[in-house]
């Protein structure tokens, strides 16, 4: 078993043990007629605060506070545990009342975005690596501009040399929209190569009507289509790798604020403050 498999197994077991313990305590509190919701509520709040500390740790990399990867492991498995404690806290029932509903919705968004983030960060990097030439995300608009200019140059050269407008027409109708478009993350929803495959198919089709020289230019354009495919994929994938955090982190802060209000309300109206 390799390092990652061993670590996954160990942490999963620890997490399951945590869940069993939490369930046992919850049952005991229930049997003893103690206010289980208060205890589970505080446990949940503590867990969420501990989970949120991960982002704080990221801001202090120069302090010897354990490696960020260890924090991430804690974040992932404590995250699963917090989902379980949330279920215990809610008594496995749907929320009632405005505050509880908002709080539950926020929790679900944070948890789901976290799970989505986990899958995204595990699945996309290998796909990016295998996609082709490595690209720096911030420079993608520049690469795209350079590629477009290159394509226009090839088309202009071909037109000039052949004296025909065949390439220009094809460029205007088919290639220009493709090369001008910046991909969105929705590209990842289906087959990320579908656009490029369609364009390549149309190029093959169009080659029937061209002479040998223009077919040569088409060959160069095919390489550009391949580069655009890589560019689109990397743009979408790298953007998604950043975007999910824009959901996860702000909603976490909102969750903490609403949770604190909820705790205060529960304590005050429960006559404990």
């Amino acid at each position: 078993m390799n390092f990652f498999a061993r670590r996954r197994l160990r942490n999963t077991l620890l997490c399951l043990v945590g869940m069993v313990l939490a369930y046992g305590l919850w049952r005991m509190l229930k049997i003893a007629l103690r206010p289980a919701a208060i205890y589970t509520g505080f446990a949940l709040l503590a867990l969420v605060l501990a989970l949120a500390l991960f982002n704080g740790r990221k801001k202090l990399p120069f302090l010897p506070l354990m490696k960020a990867s260890s924090w991430l492991q804690f974040h992932i498995y404590a995250g699963w545990l917090s989902v379980f404690v949330f279920l215990l806290h809610s008594g496995f029932r749907l929320p009632t009342g405005m505050l509880e509903t908002i709080l539950s919705v926020l929790f679900v968004i944070v948890a789901l975005s976290g799970v989505a983030g986990l899958f995204i960060t595990r699945l996309l990097p290998p796909a990016i690596t295998r996609s082709g030439e490595p690209l720096v995300y911030e420079r993608i608009p520049r690469y795209q501009h350079a590629l477009r200019t290159e394509v226009e140059g090839i088309v202009e050269d071909a037109e000039r040399q052949s004296g025909s407008t065949a390439m220009g027409n094809f460029y205007m109708s088919t290639l220009a929209p493709y090369f001008q478009r910046r991909s969105s993350v929705l590209l990842l929803a289906g087959n990320p190569s579908r656009h490029s495959q369609r364009i390549l198919g149309q190029m093959d089709e169009y080659c029937r009507y061209l002479d040998e020289e223009l077919v040569g230019s088409m060959g160069r354009l095919r390489e550009c289509v391949e580069r655009k495919r890589n560019l689109d994929f990397q743009n979408a994938a790298q953007r998604l790798l950043k975007l999910w955090l824009f959901v996860h982190i702000p909603f976490t802060y909102s969750l903490i604020i609403v949770a604190l209000v909820h705790a205060w309300v529960a304590l005050v109206y429960g006559g404990r403050l």
Binding site: N2, F3, F4, K58, K59, L60, P61, F62, L63, P64, L65, M66, K67, A68, S69, W71, L72, T121, L124, P125, P126, I128, T129, R130, P134, V136, Y137, Q238, L241, K242
Partner: protein, 589 residues
């Protein structure tokens, strides 16, 4: 092309080391020892003795207490005392006296204070003040308060005709002692390694002298570092030291042409250009020990050659073959592999007869087991760092990739597993926050099979960047990191130009307001000249003041490299490329 139709290429002696070494001065030097004993007839016509002295040497006239070499520095010259006295300090001097950085790790509070005080603009420094570069250089090479610093320290005075620094220059190892000028006007002849190498080639007395000095001063301790020799009695070690042969392969200045070679040739072409140390199928005349540099171990594979491993400093090759030949004298066992010099290699060869007589009888049972025919290659004499079969564990292509990029030189190479890297740049931000907001590496680099060799200083085993530094600002810490002392760096770019991996960046430094800092003018008494508005007179035509910057492996941070600690996805590691077992374990996580 010149008029005769020949191509004119830049040649080694186009630029002499020092234009002040005139033919008249060479005449005088030739009358001094040891040159007066050399036979000029032995030198080839294209490399005359006078030509070597004229082009590969430099005359230094030193002030009293001026440092000639610093302990721990890397240099590529030897020094000959011509006049006056050079004082060798036989004991270590404090780091700050030698212009080293403080070295101590920052505590929690210092780290927090530094983070809070992080400058918002890039490369801000307190004003470099106050002196011109030349003045800086002089000042930085002076040992201050000598009576106090040398109090109680053992020293040795070298007189005219005595040579020093040649072992470090030729072996590319750090200087073992600090040497200063003991009198005003002490005159030295600095001989760069190219000249020294040629003098050794054509003046047998020079070669004998240098080798004898190495045998006396360095060889025994080097041999004793090997497990199989450490346990031998003193007389046996002495006998081995007396018979050990020295060999050099490749070019010491490989790094100059390497980038071109990378651009223009295929990996197999590059392999063929590497000088052969031992050919597969040859009989082993002795045990080969790598003293400096790297050796490629390869064997024939179809029509080409497959790299199976590499050997670094202190590792040896050939014990298995010698052992098997000794066991079955009738059956000739030849080398299973070829050995080639990667760049430049310095090897020691212990003759087979001595290995058979002195080393084999004292091998342990465990060592012998590894030498039996089914055992694998490259039995290393020091703790076995090289994996049993690096190729098997590392996977096809990876060993060759690392060899080809010369990454094997790295003592702390940054590798990123691109299958885990989310391109979040937390590593870059981590590095920046540990360095006043300035990241010290670029998250890009060559890649193969999802592994990226990232562009960060590798803290090389053979740190070529250190060789030309005039002030010793770039140095190796005791813990191994190659570090630049920002206070003593004069921004001459020598290190950056010498780094074959382009991992040192020259940056323009800025003042507190974010304005570039320029050299300032000094008067005859070395005081700053102010203009009528009370500002320092800037010499902006000289260009802004620069400093060399690079990864320092966060040597002053408590937790170690911030990049490694900042990566949440276990994608980034710093690895000693000689530790192939660790490398293989990381790749196969």
């Amino acid at each position: 092309m010149d008029a005769s139709g020949q191509t004119i290429r830049p040649a080694r002696w186009d630029e002499p080391f020092d234009a002040d070494v005139t033919p008249e001065r060479v005449e005088r030097i030739l009358t001094l020892p040891p040159f007066d004993r050399m036979d000029p007839q032995r030198f080839p016509r294209h490399l005359p003795l006078a030509g070597i002295l004229r082009n590969d040497t430099r005359l230094l006239t030193l002030k009293q207490d001026q440092i000639i070499v610093r302990e721990g520095d890397y240099g590529n010259s030897a020094f000959l005392v011509l006049e006056g006295t050079a004082r060798v300090v036989l004991e270590s001097l404090p780091r700050e006296v030698l212009g080293r950085s403080e070295g101590a790790k920052k505590g929690w509070f210092q780290s927090i204070a530094r983070a809070l005080g992080t400058r918002r603009l890039r490369e801000q420094r307190p004003h470099h003040t106050i002196r011109q570069r030349e003045a800086d250089e002089d000042e930085l090479t002076l040992l201050h308060d000598v009576p106090r610093v040398l109090e109680g320290k053992r020293t040795n005075d070298l007189q005219p005709g005595e040579l020093f620094g040649e072992i470090a220059a030729l072996g590319r190892s750090p200087r073992t002692a600090t040497v200063i000028a003991a009198q005003n006007g002490t005159q030295m002849l600095e001989i760069r390694w190219q000249g020294l190498r040629d003098l050794m080639s054509y003046a047998p007395e020079m070669k004998a002298h240098i080798e004898q000095r190495f045998r006396e001063h360095g060889l025994r301790s080097l041999l004793r570092a090997l497990d199989i020799i450490r346990r031998l009695p003193q007389e046996a070690v002495d006998e081995i030291a007396a018979a050990t042969e020295f060999e050099r392969h490749g070019r010491m200045d490989w790094y100059g042409s390497y980038q071109q070679l990378l651009d223009k040739t295929t990996p197999s072409e590059r392999l063929r250009t590497e000088p052969m140390i031992l050919q597969q199928g040859d009989y082993l005349n002795g045990l080969i020990i790598v003293r400096g540099g790297f050796v490629r171990v390869s064997r024939k594979y179809h029509l080409g050659e497959q790299t199976t491993a590499y050997l670094g400093k202190g590792q040896c090759y050939g014990l298995k073959e010698i052992y098997q030949n000794a066991q079955k004298p009738g059956e000739l066992v030849t080398s299973e592999h070829s050995l080639r010099a990667v760049g430049y290699v310095d090897v020691l060869v212990i003759p087979t007869v001595l290995v058979e007589r002195l080393i084999l009888p004292r091998l342990t049972a465990a060592e012998i087991r590894k030498l039996e025919p089914q055992g694998s290659i490259s039995k290393t004499a020091r703790p076995v760092k090289l994996s049993e079969d690096a190729r098997e564990k590392l996977g096809p292509g990876i060993v060759e990739f690392f060899m080809d990029k010369r990454t094997i030189n790295g003592g702390a190479t940054m590798l990123i597993d691109l299958d885990r890297c989310t391109r979040c740049d937390d590593c870059v931000r981590g590095c920046a926050s540990a360095h006043d907001g300035n990241p010290r590496f670029i998250r890009q680099g060559d890649q193969l099979e999802g592994i990226q060799i990232t562009q960060a200083c590798m803290h090389c085993h053979d740190p070529i960047c250190m060789i030309p530094c005039p002030t010793g600002a770039i140095h190796r810490e005791e813990s191994g990191e190659v570090v630049i002392n920002d206070r003593t760096c004069i921004g001459c770019s020598s290190c950056a130009n010498n780094c074959p991996y382009n991992n040192i960046q020259m940056v323009e430094i800025r003042d507190e307001r974010g304005m570039p800092q320029f050299p300032v003018k000094l008067d005859a008494k070395q005081r700053i000249v102010f203009d009528s508005q009370g500002s320092m007179t800037s010499l902006s035509a000289d260009g802004a003041v620069q400093r060399a910057t690079k990864c320092d492996l966060c040597h002053d941070l408590l937790g170690g490299p911030a990049c490694v600690r900042a990566c949440p996805h276990d994608a980034l590691i710093r690895l000693d490329m000689q530790e192939t077992d660790k490398l293989a374990a990381w790749l196969n996580r």
